[in-house]
C-alpha cells in the first residue's frame, strides 16, 4: 500500500467498498456545504452557517472508525460530523431552514443538529460546550457496560475553555472511553491559534495522563487508521485519548466572512486547497490503487450533486413548524 505524502501512519486495510463509501461521504459533505453557501447567497437561509469544507477527512476518517451506536458530539462547524455519523442531507437542510422536517423540528438550526438514531448527541454553539456531554456519554457506556465509545469533536479554539481540562481529568481518572478530537484548522474565528494557545497542544492531554497524538487531518486514511486504534483502545477500557487533526477551513469563519485578508492570506488558502485537499488526495490514491476509475468518480460526483439539489428542494418546499411548536418540548 502506498503511504500518502505527509502521513507516517500505517494504513488500515479496508475493502474497496469501504474506501468508496468514505469517498462518497467526503464528497457529500463538500457538496452539502456548497449548497449551504448557495442557500445563504440566495437569502434562503435564516442566520449564518459555519462550513466544514476542507476538513472532510477528519469527520469521515473518525466516524468510519465508529460503530453505529457510538456517540459523537459536534460543534458550530458541525455539518460534516453529523453527515459522517449518518444524518441524511434532506433533513439536515430542512433543519438549516427551520422546517418541521428537520432533525430538530426546526428548533435547533445549523448549530444544533442532533439525532439519537445515529448516536449524535448534538452539535453545540458554545465553544467547548459539549466536552462534558461527550465525557458523560462515555461515563454511561462504562457504567452500563455497553461497549460504546464517545467522540468529542472540537475546534482548537476550545482549548481555551477550562471545562475541557476538567473533563480530561475525569475521563482519565475513571478510564472513560472518550476520544477528544481537536480539529486544528489554525483559526479561532479571525485570530490565528498561535496567538491564543501557549505551550503544546498534545502536552495538554498528556499532562492529564491521556494518550495523545496528532495526525494529518487531510489524509482520510491516516485519520481513520489512527482513530480506529484509539477507538479500540478506548473500547478495551484503556482510557481516553486526545487526537489532534491538522486541517484547514477553506472558506470564512461563517458564510458571511468574505473578506479574510486581514487575518489570513489568499496564498495560504490556495496552498491548502491546491496541495492539501483531502478529497483530491484521496481520489488520487483511489485511482492510483485502481480502486476506482476516473469516470466512476465523476459519476459519483454527478449523483451526489443531484442528490443534494433534491434535498435542498425538499427542504425549501417543506413547511415550517406550526406556531404551537414554540411551547412544545421545553420539558420531556
Amino acid at each position: 500500500m502506498t503511504i500518502a505524502a505527509g502521513s507516517s501512519e500505517t494504513q488500515t486495510a479496508l475493502g474497496v467498498q469501504q474506501w468508496m463509501g468514505m469517498y462518497r461521504q467526503m464528497l457529500s459533505i463538500r457538496l452539502f456545504e456548497e449548497q449551504v453557501n448557495e442557500l445563504y447567497k440566495r437569502a434562503l437561509m435564516p442566520g449564518l452557517a459555519h462550513l466544514y469544507s476542507g476538513e472532510e477527512a477528519v469527520a469521515v476518517g473518525i466516524c468510519e472508525a465508529l460503530r453505529g451506536d457510538d456517540y459523537i458530539t459536534s460543534t458550530h462547524r458541525g455539518h460534516g460530523h453529523c453527515l459522517a455519523k449518518g444524518a441524511t442531507p434532506d433533513r439536515m437542510f430542512a433543519e438549516l431552514l427551520g422546517k418541521e422536517a428537520g432533525y430538530c423540528r426546526g428548533k435547533g438550526g445549523s448549530m444544533h443538529i442532533a439525532d439519537p438514531k445515529t448516536g449524535n448527541l448534538g452539535a453545540n454553539a458554545i465553544v467547548g460546550g459539549s466536552a462534558g456531554i461527550a465525557t458523560g456519554a462515555a461515563f454511561s457506556a462504562k457504567q452500563l457496560k455497553t461497549g460504546q465509545v464517545a467522540v468529542c469533536f472540537f475546534g482548537e479554539g476550545a482549548l481555551g475553555q477550562g471545562l475541557f481540562y476538567e473533563v480530561m481529568n475525569l475521563a482519565q481518572l475513571w478510564k472513560l472511553p472518550v476520544i477528544y478530537v481537536c480539529e486544528n484548522n489554525l483559526y479561532n474565528e479571525y485570530t490565528h491559534y498561535t496567538e491564543t494557545t501557549a505551550g503544546d497542544i498534545l502536552a495538554r492531554g498528556t499532562a492529564f495522563g491521556l494518550h495523545a497524538e496528532s495526525v494529518d487531518g487531510q489524509d482520510v486514511r491516516a485519520v481513520h487508521a489512527t482513530a480506529a486504534r484509539l477507538v479500540e483502545r478506548a473500547r478495551r477500557g484503556e482510557g481516553p485519548a486526545l487526537l489532534m487533526c491538522k486541517t484547514y477551513r477553506y472558506t470564512g469563519h461563517h458564510v458571511g466572512d468574505i473578506s479574510r485578508e486581514y487575518y489570513r492570506s489568499k496564498q495560504e488558502e490556495q496552498h491548502w486547497m491546491g496541495e492539501r485537499d483531502p478529497i483530491k488526495l484521496f481520489a488520487g490514491w483511489l485511482l492510483e490503487q485502481k480502486h476506482a476509475e476516473k469516470a466512476q468518480l465523476e459519476g459519483i460526483y454527478a449523483e451526489i450533486e443531484t442528490q443534494m439539489k433534491k434535498a435542498v428542494e425538499f427542504a425549501v418546499a417543506a413547511p415550517y413548524p406550526g406556531l404551537d411548536q414554540v411551547e412544545q418540548d421545553i420539558y420531556a
Binding site: Y71, T73, G102, Y103, C104, R105, G106, K107, G108, H112, A114, D115, P116, L121, G122, N124, I126, G129, S130, A131, G132, I133, A134, T135, G136, A137, A138, F139, S140, A141, Q143, L144, T146, A150, G162, L163, E166, V167, N169, L170, L173, Q328, D329, I330, Y331, A332
Partner: protein
C-alpha cells in the same frame, strides 16, 4: 402532611432515605460530587450510602463543578440518572453554562429527541457564619430558565417526597436544601410516597393574611403566624415547594381569600423569587388585595460574616409578625 405519620426523621435523613430508595429501585441512579462517598458530604447528609451502593454509584469527584455537571448532562442523555451534589449553592456559578446552555436546552433544541433526566442537589441559606461566598441563595437564577425545574423543600416530609419525584423526572431538576435545616425533625411515613412538582402546600390555614414562604422562610412564617395568632390575626402560610413549575392557583386563591400577602424568600432582595411571586399575586388577586404585597427576605447585600450583621440580613418571626400586623391594621 398525613395525620398518621409517627416516624420522625431529620431533613438530612429524609434526603438520604429518598436517595437510598431510588437507588435501590433503579440501578441507573448514581451520585456524583465532592466528598460524597466515605465522607458522606461535609454536612454528612449522605453518610452510609457508599457502604450500601459502592464507589461505582456514589462517586467522589475532583473539585470540578463545571466538569462533573457537564458529565452528568451527557450521562443523563445516555441512560444514567445522575444526582449531582454541589456542596454550596454559591458554587452553581461554576455550572451555569452546563445547566443553562446545555441541560436546560438539550430537549428543546433537539426538537424533543434527547432528554436530560438529572438532578442537581445543592444548598442555600445564610446564618452559618460562612460569609459572602458560602451563604447565598441563588435559586432565582435557575427559576428564570425555561427547561429547568426548581425545588425548594421546607420539611423532611417534603424533602423526601419531592426528591424522589425529582429523580424520576425526565428533566433537569435543581433541588435546593437549606443548610440550616438539615437537623430539623419532622414526620416522615415509612411507606413509599412521592410529591408532584408544581403543587404548593398550605402549611397553615388562616383567614387574614397570606404568608407565601419558600424553603428556610417557611419556619419563619410559621413562627410569625404563631405570634400573629396571639395578636388575634389568623395567618395562612403557603409554601410553593417548587418555583418552577409554580402553583400560581393555590397562591392566588389564598390571597383572594385573605386579601393581604407577604412573600418571603431567602434570595437577594431584588430581582429574585419574591418579585415573581409578588407580581403573580398582584396580577391574579388585583381586585381582592386590600394593600400592596410586601416582600421580605434576605436584604439586597452580600452576606456579611460578622454575626450581628449577618443576623440583621434575615427576617425573623418577630419582624415578619410586625410587618404582617401593620399590613392587617392598615386597611
Amino acid at each position: 402532611m398525613p395525620e398518621a405519620a409517627v416516624r420522625e426523621l431529620t431533613f438530612a435523613q429524609a434526603i438520604k432515605e429518598a436517595l437510598a430508595e431510588e437507588m435501590r429501585r433503579d440501578p441507573k441512579v448514581c451520585i456524583l460530587g465532592e466528598d460524597v462517598a466515605e465522607a458522606g458530604t461535609p454536612f454528612k447528609v449522605l453518610s452510609g450510602l457508599v457502604e450500601e451502593f459502592g464507589t461505582e454509584r456514589v462517586i467522589d469527584t475532583p473539585i470540578s463543578e463545571a466538569g462533573f455537571t457537564g458529565l452528568a448532562v451527557g450521562a443523563a442523555m445516555t441512560g444514567v440518572r445522575p444526582v449531582v451534589d454541589i456542596m454550596f449553592g454559591d458554587f452553581i456559578t461554576l455550572t451555569m453554562d452546563q445547566m443553562v446552555n446545555q441541560a436546560a436546552k438539550v430537549h428543546y433544541m433537539s426538537g424533543g429527541t434527547w432528554k436530560v433526566p438529572m438532578v442537581m442537589r445543592t444548598t442555600l441559606g445564610a446564618a452559618r457564619r460562612s460569609a459572602a461566598q458560602h451563604s447565598q441563595s441563588l435559586h432565582a437564577w435557575f427559576s428564570h430558565v425555561p427547561g429547568l425545574k426548581v425545588v425548594l423543600p421546607s420539611t423532611p416530609y417534603d424533602a423526601k417526597g419531592l426528591l424522589k419525584t425529582a429523580i424520576r423526572d425526565e428533566n433537569p431538576v435543581v433541588f435546593f436544601e437549606d443548610k440550616m435545616m438539615y437537623k430539623l425533625k419532622g414526620p416522615v411515613p415509612a411507606e413509599e410516597y412521592t410529591i408532584p412538582l408544581g403543587l404548593a402546600d398550605v402549611k397553615r390555614v388562616g383567614r387574614d393574611i397570606t404568608l407565601v414562604a419558600t424553603s428556610s422562610m417557611v419556619q419563619v412564617a410559621l413562627g410569625a403566624a404563631k405570634l400573629l395568632e396571639e395578636a388575634g390575626i389568623s395567618a395562612e402560610v403557603v409554601d410553593p415547594r417548587t418555583t418552577w413549575p409554580l402553583d400560581e392557583k393555590t397562591i392566588v386563591e389564598s390571597v383572594k381569600k385573605t386579601s393581604r400577602a407577604i412573600v418571603m424568600d431567602e434570595g437577594y432582595g431584588r430581582y429574585g423569587v419574591a418579585a415573581e411571586i409578588a407580581a403573580v399575586i398582584a396580577e391574579g388577586a388585583f381586585y381582592q388585595l386590600d394593600g400592596p404585597v410586601k416582600r421580605m427576605g434576605a436584604m439586597h447585600v452580600p452576606i456579611p460574616f460578622s454575626p450581628p450583621l449577618e443576623d440583621a440580613t434575615l427576617p425573623t418571626d418577630r419582624t415578619v409578625f410586625e410587618a404582617a400586623r401593620a399590613l392587617c391594621s392598615r386597611s
